[in-house]
Amino acid sequence: MSCCVPTIDPNDPDRRAAAREELRLASREIESGLWQTDLSVPGIHCGACIHTIEKAIGALPGVTRARVNLSTKRTTIQWRAEAPPPFIETLNAIGYEAHLHDDLAGTKDNTLSELIRALAVAGFAASNIMLLSVSIWSGADAATRDLFHWISAAIALPTLIYSGGVFYRSAWQSLRHGRTNMDVPISIGVALAFGLSIYETIHQGPHAYFDAAVSLLFFLLIGRTLDHMMRERARVAVKGLARLAARGALVRQPDGSQVYMPVQEIEPGMTLLLTAGERVPVDARVLSGASEMDRSLVSGESLPQPVTSGDQLEAGTLNLTGPLTVMATAAAKDSFLAEMMRMMEAAESGRSAYRRIADRAAQLYAPVVHLTALLTFIGWMIATGDFHRAITIAIAVLIITCPCALGLAVPMVQVVAARRLFEHGIMLKDGGALERLADIDTVMFDKTGTLTLGESELVNHDSNARDLAIARAIASQSRHPYSRALAATGDIAAAQITLDAITEHPGLGLEARVGDTTYRLGRADWTLDAANPLKQIPDTASVVLSKDGRYLAAFAFEDRLRPDAAQAVAALTSAGFPVEILSGDRRAAVQAVAAPLGVAWRAGISPSGKTAQIAAALARGQKPLMIGDGLNDAPALTAAHASMAPATAADVGRNAADLVFLRDSLMAVPEAIAVARRAAQLIRENLMLAIGYNVIAVPIAVLGYVTPLIAAIAMSLSSLLVVANALRLGRTNRLQKQKSNGVIGEAPTTRLAGGMA
């Protein structure tokens, strides 16, 4: 353990038992007595790590299997024991940081396996039937043709039932709710094509469409699988690491004993013990103790707030410096965290459900196609009176217009776009988000943690090298944000000072002794004797170092802006987006950030206030993009037309946002917009290509010239065309990247302007 805050006693048996109990709560029993624990170990990066970790964990008593997953940077451990073996301590000891992993993210993705199985079956069937069809098209004699038709039918039937199920279920769902989606014409087309082909085969007809029906499924399943994989990768990356909600807390029973309880079982009135570094599990009131709370994720306030007995704490805030005894005032389901969840649900249901381009296209497409086929049938019936011929041609129309290109056109572009975004460290939740991001017209930022990094930085001090070294040596002993910022400045060699007896005074500061001298680092009124008042009044964000009560130096801190924040805002403004800051922080703090950026701002806004701002913008007909990270932003993120969150955000925020950017740079925002606009353009092009294809193919089909051979060629060609067009998204940008290598500072702006033109 690298941390050594005096207030935590790592050998406290109750505390250790509590950690064990938390591990147990995070594990699941896979068979009687056999438990499985998923740990997230971000430090895994090589083959040697696999070996070291599996060896170390495997050697623990009670562990039956340990398995490292290098791709997901997770370790899965199966164990059989009364209490969980000390996994996290063991990993820490060999140099790996480990976190409990969310149960949800650990479960296997069944939908993806199902899609891949369906795809494999369809691929097998399509290739075999196609081989048989080629020999039929090459002019096999009637007997051979019929035999091959029967074999094709035998392969196609199970395939259509198994692989087609994906589409039938979705089509049925949609029809039951009185809507049509892309899957309705697909299902009807495939089923009719198969029925007609069976009829033809029984009556020894020359034309069967088994190949068309199965290869259609194959192409569409590729699109469907790609779409799903893209969303899944983002989901897994976004979930996990920092859990905001505590899993449980140490409860002091009326008889004085201490029990670790899961958060759901904590009831109002219970007394909880909270150490430094723990999150508040439920809304509570402080009974005794003093500390400082990091409320940045909850309210957006960048400065830690001192708390003492009688103060109210929201669930999800982080206890920074001292141990607290608190009394729960609400159960988990009534706490601040749960309240946020409810607000998000309300925002979600309030937002008119966005319909994806593909679905909107299908809404027009399906009736047109079905009407055309029907009219073709009626036309041929009137013209020839030949029922069999009329129905054959009508079904040929259905097959040739089956939205193969459409089904591939949109997911293909979105997958390529998602890959492009991923290269820039941006994760995309789903394709619909990309479409929404393309038509936003206003940008709203949260401040703390979004425009800023949410970390304090030493910006100013008046100390000499020796005082600074002392201050840093003292600060390195605390986890207070200012102490961390102070400890992180300068080079390590300067910290050659030996301190005796450091104590942390929650809410006040740190006290250290060197021989007979007492150094204090903390609030001005505490560090200085009444006899030695400060020369000037420090601002709120400053810390004073004193020697035996006499002033030595003052340190000023500021929340650091993200790199490129100004550049990103400038890029957005010059692209014509009004930019606004919505913050829950104090006026002065918000103004300090907003003024240099030159953007509009609102301070002190409550979570519901943010949602109201978004709703007002939506009501004015604007399409706001919300970028935020905190728990307090989550409802606004859900309400906005599109939303982004940094990877450092609260997990609720990350789950609410459409896109998550992993790097520190805020240039991710204009870049994502540029890629989204480019993708939207390509999707439109692809839809035009698909329509153009139909304009040519439909008359041929209506006139009755389509044979299975022509159908197969036309469908494959149109699919290849849209895929090739989608891949242009990757290529154009690679060219631009090469170009931009020379002019580093300027390139992103040019790229943005190009993308938005």
């Binding site: 090589c46 696999i50 599996e54 398995r67 997953n69 791709s71 079956v121 081989l131 051979t144 035999l147």
Partner: protein, 51 residues
């Protein structure tokens, strides 16, 4: 021509074997950690995936 028809069921059967093998590997979790699999070739012990 008809003499070669016995090849058709053989070809389809071989395809089926391939398909079933793929589904088995999928179910067996062999695609769960592609990056790890490349490294594990250097280790002697346990290369069975956990499920």
């Amino acid at each position: 021509m008809t003499g070669f028809f016995f090849l058709v069921p053989i070809a389809i059967a071989l395809g089926l074997v391939g398909l079933l093998t793929f589904i088995w590997t999928l179910k067996d979790g062999q695609y769960d950690d592609l990056a790890g699999a490349a490294e594990r070739i250097l280790h002697d012990d346990g290369d069975r995936p956990l499920r």
